[in-house]
């Protein structure tokens, strides 16, 4: 019976893992253009002439992997923020990370910053720096008021940062012309069409760091849900755990946003669904959310690509169309 947890962990990881793998394997097969898998993998045809292979390996596969990366990062960051703030309605964007990222991307697009580094475009790099700036300010504000990291102050600081950055965004938007405004709007809706593996490789170190931290945070998050003091008296270094949670989840969110833009609703829909299935123990919820988040976003991207083929909807529109009604249902159902 105590092996229950170990067994449940194995079951959960393999179940959701299968789902994620299935999604990643099928997604490159689906798209607005019909391709033949046999041709795509036919080594005899030179790559330059093999359109099916080009579409598979250049257009669809990086896009699928980006969806998996962004989805798993945002979903697990959502779990961590919810545990940190002790609030199931928290999202990776609650504390101002996405507002900072949006401001960074906006500045890059409006003022046509043109530099690219290690395959990372100006907008992506600027959005990551913007998210770091926002996170840094929120953290400094929260620390200033409290010895440790008061979650109340954190929440207030985050909400304030969101408002402040939104004001800055409006200001910058004034300088943007029509085309730039449209581009910014599309960036805000999320875009996984990365067409190369470079952004993924650039984001990989951040992903590894985040996931290692999340693995360590699983038990501490369980304890944190009892309250700061109760967690402390159960042997948790609360300040250190909160700091780790805050920094790692913010890094994860910043990395995800710089790859695919601020795709909404994943950080809250996926953790909720997962908790409904596996329960609240973070040692199950975290890996399950990462895997399910990957599958979920890959699935949403497939929908985005095919629903109005050949025109593509931004993936954030699909996640919002699913997430909004889900939220309503959450609020309305009896507990």
């Amino acid at each position: 019976m105590t092996v229950a947890l170990a067994r449940r962990l194995t079951l959960t990881v393999s179940g959701f893992g299968l789902l994620a793998v299935a999604a990643i394997l099928t997604s490159p097969l689906i798209g607005s253009t019909h391709i033949s898998l046999r041709r795509a993998f036919d080594r005899a045809i030179p790559f330059a002439d093999n359109v099916d292979a080009q579409i598979f390996f250049i257009a669809r596969l990086p896009r699928t992997l980006a969806g998996a990366l962004v989805g798993s990062l945002l979903a697990s960051a959502g779990v961590v923020f919810q545990g940190l703030l002790r609030n199931p309605l928290a999202t990776p964007f609650t504390l101002g990370v996405s507002a900072g990222a949006a401001l960074g991307a906006m500045l890059a697009i409006t003022f046509s910053w043109s530099f690219a580094w290690a395959g990372v475009s100006a907008a992506a790099a600027a959005s990551f720096l913007g998210s770091l700036a926002a996170v840094g300010i929120v953290y400094a504000l929260a620390r200033a008021r409290h010895r440790g990291l008061s979650t109340n102050v954190l929440l207030l600081a985050g909400v304030t940062m969101n408002a402040f950055f939104s004001a800055l965004i409006l200001f910058v938007q004034y300088f943007a012309d029509f085309a730039q405004t449209y581009r910014i709007l599309r960036w805000l809706m999320g875009d996984l069409d990365i067409s190369s593996y470079q952004p993924l490789l650039s984001a990989l170190p951040l992903l590894i760091v985040s996931f290692v931290s999340f693995a360590w945070l699983a038990r501490p998050l369980n304890l944190l849900s009892l309250g700061d003091e109760s967690a402390e008296t159960r042997g948790l270094n609360v300040v250190r755990a909160q700091r780790t949670a805050f920094v790692s989840a913010s890094l994860a969110t910043g990395a995800a946003v710089s790859v695919g833009g601020p795709v909404g609703f994943i950080g809250i829909v996926v953790p909720h669904l997962v908790r409904l299935i596996v329960g609240p123990d973070h040692r199950l919820v975290l890996p399950a959310s990462a895997l399910f988040g990957a599958a979920f976003l890959v699935g949403c991207d497939v929908l985005a690509r095919t629903v109005m083929s050949p025109v593509e909807l931004p993936v954030g529109v699909i996640t919002a169309l699913i997430g909004g009604p889900f939220f309503l249902w959450l609020l309305v159902r009896k507990r």
Partner: protein
């Protein structure tokens, strides 16, 4: 396991402690919690009871003075090591997520687990034993949030007992205002539970409370705190007198014994006129 009678397991020595806004809630407080003892910390609101309890638990560090466990300062001990010896039962526990009772009790075993270790069969049997002792075994699959106040309290006590169980040395249980949220029946039950537990396993208990009767009947030693100073400390019979109660609460009270059960009862009569601070 030998009971080391008379040995001061946990002590506060001249502790000055407080919070960023109020740096000296405690002005040089010294108390002793003897091994196997049952200490009550009494005092009016704002006297520093909770602060003292927090200091004893190692949650806040004293600005001056020491907290000693087994004669050694608390400071170098890791939180986890401390948590294996000492558990705190808070006044109220609100969970952010829907953990089951079993999961809550099992969280008490976390201090015994290595970083990525999962609970083993031994942890589980300790938890079950603790739940049996608190009469909560039948609740194990229920969601914690759906329990009544008394049931929740008992579950938290079970978690605390599981937390300090299996320690080579005596475990310490600190309870902060345990009867506040409980109705009469549960108050009696909790008292019985604690007393029973102390008979069966080596356990040292310290309780901070308002409830004079509760303290009178369970605690063998009392510490009276007023304005961050120790007004009196010693065995319950010596300390719990009308004079002390008047000094502590500005209340005229009768301290008598209930003949049939032999229990000490404190009956508040009226407020006494406020006196100048001593």
């Amino acid at each position: 396991m030998a009971h080391w009678q008379g040995y001061e397991l946990l002590q506060a020595v001249d502790v000055v402690a407080g919070y960023p806004g109020r740096p000296s809630v405690l002005h040089g407080v010294s108390i002793e919690v003897p091994t196997g003892g049952f200490v009550g910390i009494l005092g009016p609101n704002g006297s520093g009871k909770t602060t003292l309890l927090r200091a004893l638990a190692g949650v806040i560090r004293p600005a001056r003075g020491h907290i000693r466990l087994d004669g050694q300062d608390l400071t170098p001990l890791s939180r986890q090591a401390l948590a294996r010896r000492m558990a705190v039962v808070a006044q109220e526990t609100h969970l952010a997520f829907d953990y089951s009772v079993l999961e809550v009790v099992m969280m008490g075993r976390y201090p015994h687990l290595a970083t990525f270790e999962i609970e083993g069969p031994e942890d589980f049997s300790i938890a079950r034993e603790a739940m049996r002792a608190t009469g909560t075994l039948q609740l194990q699959e229920r969601q914690f949030a759906t329990l009544s106040g008394g049931e929740k309290q008992r579950v938290i006590v079970a978690a605390a007992l599981a937390q300090i169980s299996g320690a080579a040395d005596d475990g310490i249980l600190l309870l902060d205002e345990p009867t506040v949220a409980l109705d009469l029946a549960y108050q009696l039950e909790l008292g019985e539970l604690l007393r029973e537990r102390q008979r069966r396993v080596p356990l040292t208990i310290a309780v901070s409370t308002h409830d004079l009767n509760f303290a009178a009947n369970l605690c063998r030693t009392l510490v009276l705190l007023k304005d961050g100073h120790v007004l009196a400390a010693g065995s319950t019979g010596d300390v719990l007198t009308s004079e002390h109660i008047r000094e502590l609460y500005d209340v005229e009270a009768d301290v008598t014994r209930h003949a049939p059960t032999g229990r000490v009862i404190v009956i508040p009569v009226r407020r006494s006129p406020a006196r100048s601070q001593s």
